[in-house]
């Protein structure tokens, strides 16, 4: 599929570069999509099988009723954080370097929330009773229990998903209009015409769009913080050792920002490589993203140490047994790997500019960080339940192949949605890149010619 020839003799290089993935499909795309579809399908079939067989096919048993499913839920909600959050913060701060990254980050949020939202349903076991949590009045004139953190979860995730979808779609409308003008086949033309909503780029349209994006950034930001705080309260509202702590809200939010930033960097590096967008996503952008990740890593470590030290020093019997199984028991390797990934390796490496600007070093590091962050979620959910209550109820927990498959399921699903999105929308915000180029100016200072940005 070839692109439309230039409509006028203008600078359309940006359009052509960024629209290319929408109109050209390589065998690599099909291979990746097929692989993801297979993984997603296998996970879905496993889920359906589990529904029929019952929860005994998992490693869950009394009292360990929260295992890999909940770890996955917290992990995927956490990943969703940085997309919208970082985009909103950078937009409000008018950080110009955000422009090539925001769209990929916002899309990441939507797809990770979609994956996360399935885990409470999977975890229910009897998923068909999900409607109990929806606020409606039943035949006994009873409503859902809004005092339950589960009802808060539902409200928070729905709000965040709706907000993130709107925050992704509205700024994409002007780019859909460009895709509409460049599309050559009738189907694509019609699709992008519908998605562009008749956008023409008039003065009033831009004025309202800019205002709306600003307002959405202001509104979405506190929602993003509230979502992971509420997820943390799923644990913290329970009177269980190592869960019932006031630090959990900020600790979860910071962990979410950290893991989300790591995924943004992984995706940014992969996209840059796959579409040869080195002109748009430069080491400068990777450096900036990595610096934010470094700050998140330091703050996360600070909160983890703060929480650990106080519980360790207090030596309350219920908490000591859980700390002991993390320090030297069955969860020792989990904890060691987590600390290596999130702190001991990540912080010193991110301190070096050479690492921060090296795409491949960053990619491997960020994947390692997310392995550590997944283990962190697992270590929050499981050890407390393994040795909770009287000692005769203490037990062990080993996930089964079902839980393994259900962990592959969201990974495959997320990547599948992401590669589909590549075919549906410009992955880098064209108008924002162009806006940056319009505002760009060069100023000579002594022997140097420096780049400056003209701003209102």
């Amino acid at each position: 599929m070839k692109l439309h020839p230039p409509l006028v003799h203008g600078d359309d290089k940006i359009n052509r570069d960024i629209l290319r993935p929408l109109f050209e499909t390589s065998w690599r795309w099909w291979a990746l999509f097929g692989l993801c579809l297979t993984g997603f399908g296998a996970g879905f079939v496993t889920w359906m099988w589990m529904l029929g067989a019952g929860m005994w096919v998992t490693g869950l048993h009394r009292p360990v009723m929260w295992g890999v499913f909940i770890a996955n839920f917290v992990f995927w909600v956490g990943l969703s954080h940085s997309g919208t959050l970082i985009s909103a913060i950078l937009r409000l701060a008018k950080a110009d370097w955000r422009r090539p990254i925001t769209r990929a980050a916002e899309a990441m949020t939507v797809f990770t929330v979609l994956m996360a939202a399935q885990f409470p349903l999977i975890h229910l076991g009897r998923t068909w009773f999900f409607y109990y949590i929806i606020p409606y009045v039943n035949q006994r004139e009873m409503w859902g229990n809004f005092r339950s953190p589960l009802a808060w979860d539902l409200m928070a995730i729905l709000t965040y998903l709706s907000g993130s979808l709107i925050y992704l779609y509205l700024p994409t409308v002007p780019d859909f209009a460009i895709a509409r003008d460049y599309a050559t086949t009738p189907v694509r033309k019609k699709l992008f015409t519908m998605l562009a909503l008749g956008w023409r780029g008039t003065r009033k349209e831009w004025h309202r769009m800019n205002l709306a994006i600003l307002m959405l950034a202001v509104l979405v930001l506190p929602v993003a913080v509230s979502v992971h705080t509420i997820v943390s309260w799923d644990f913290a509202m329970a009177l269980a050792p190592q869960w019932h702590t006031t630090i959990f809200g900020p600790y979860f939010v910071l962990g979410a920002i950290y893991s989300g930033m790591a995924l943004v960097v992984t995706l940014t590096v992969l996209i840059r490589w796959a579409f040869k967008w080195e002109d748009y996503i430069t080491p400068f952008h990777l450096d900036k993203l990595s610096k934010i990740m470094l700050v998140a890593a330091i703050l996360w470590t600070y909160l983890w140490c703060g929480d650990y030290l106080i519980t360790w020093y207090g030596r309350l019997p219920e908490e000591k047994v859980i700390i002991d199984i993390k320090n030297g028991g069955p969860f020792f390797w989990h904890q060691l790997t987590m600390m290596l990934a999130n702190t001991i390796v990540a912080i010193p490496m991110l301190a070096f500019k050479k690492v921060r600007t090296s795409p491949w070093a960053l990619m491997f590091l960020t994947i390692f960080i997310n392995v550590g962050m997944w283990l962190e979620r697992y270590l929050i959910a499981v050890p407390t339940l393994v040795q909770k209550g009287p000692s005769y109820t203490w037990t062990t927990y080993s996930p089964t192949w079902v839980e393994l498959m259900m962990s592959i399921y969201p990974f495959a699903g997320f990547v599948m949605l992401y590669v589909l999105f590549v075919k549906m929308a410009p992955f880098i915000s064209i108008w924002e890149i162009r806006e940056d180029r319009v505002a760009e100016a060069y100023k000579t200072m002594g022997q140097a010619k420096l780049r400056a940005i003209v701003a209102e």
């Binding site: 005092r147 808060w152 709107i166 162009r434």
Partner: protein, 170 residues
Amino acid sequence: MADTYVLARYREVDPAAAGIQRLLGASVKPEDIDVMTGVPYPEEVWGLPESKSNIRKVAAMFWVIGACCGFTLAAGTAWLYPLPTGGKPIVSLPTASVIIYEMSMLMGIFSVAVATLIESKLPNFKKLPYHPAVSDGHVVLSVRCADESSASKVDEVLKASNADEVLRHV
């Protein structure tokens, strides 16, 4: 009789802005002039009256409505089916505050999106004056003219303002 639109395409911003000043000088009303661009330029660039918007007010109003809905949902339903528990209130404000907060944010977000679309008159799939060069970063002026004589006059003014292309949309 349907309005005629005269479109002028410019490669650069400055001649387009100068073109608008020439049009205003030729007694064309500001509300008949529109500018289409591929990027959002500051409004002052064009020297036209600033666009007004009620999006902020609408969002604030719906934020409050959302908070009321949240309170109704969390507290109202507790009153509808009271479950007295020893020493505990029927309506717990700390727990209701979570629902109030989320509902207010949800309504605020939705209202911003809906208000933006309504104010921008989107979606709109009618054949309105447009030039695809906007997508290439060009600036296009659109001038609404009531009759042919005024269209010809506008045409001349735009040609004199170094437009790269001047055309009609009926």
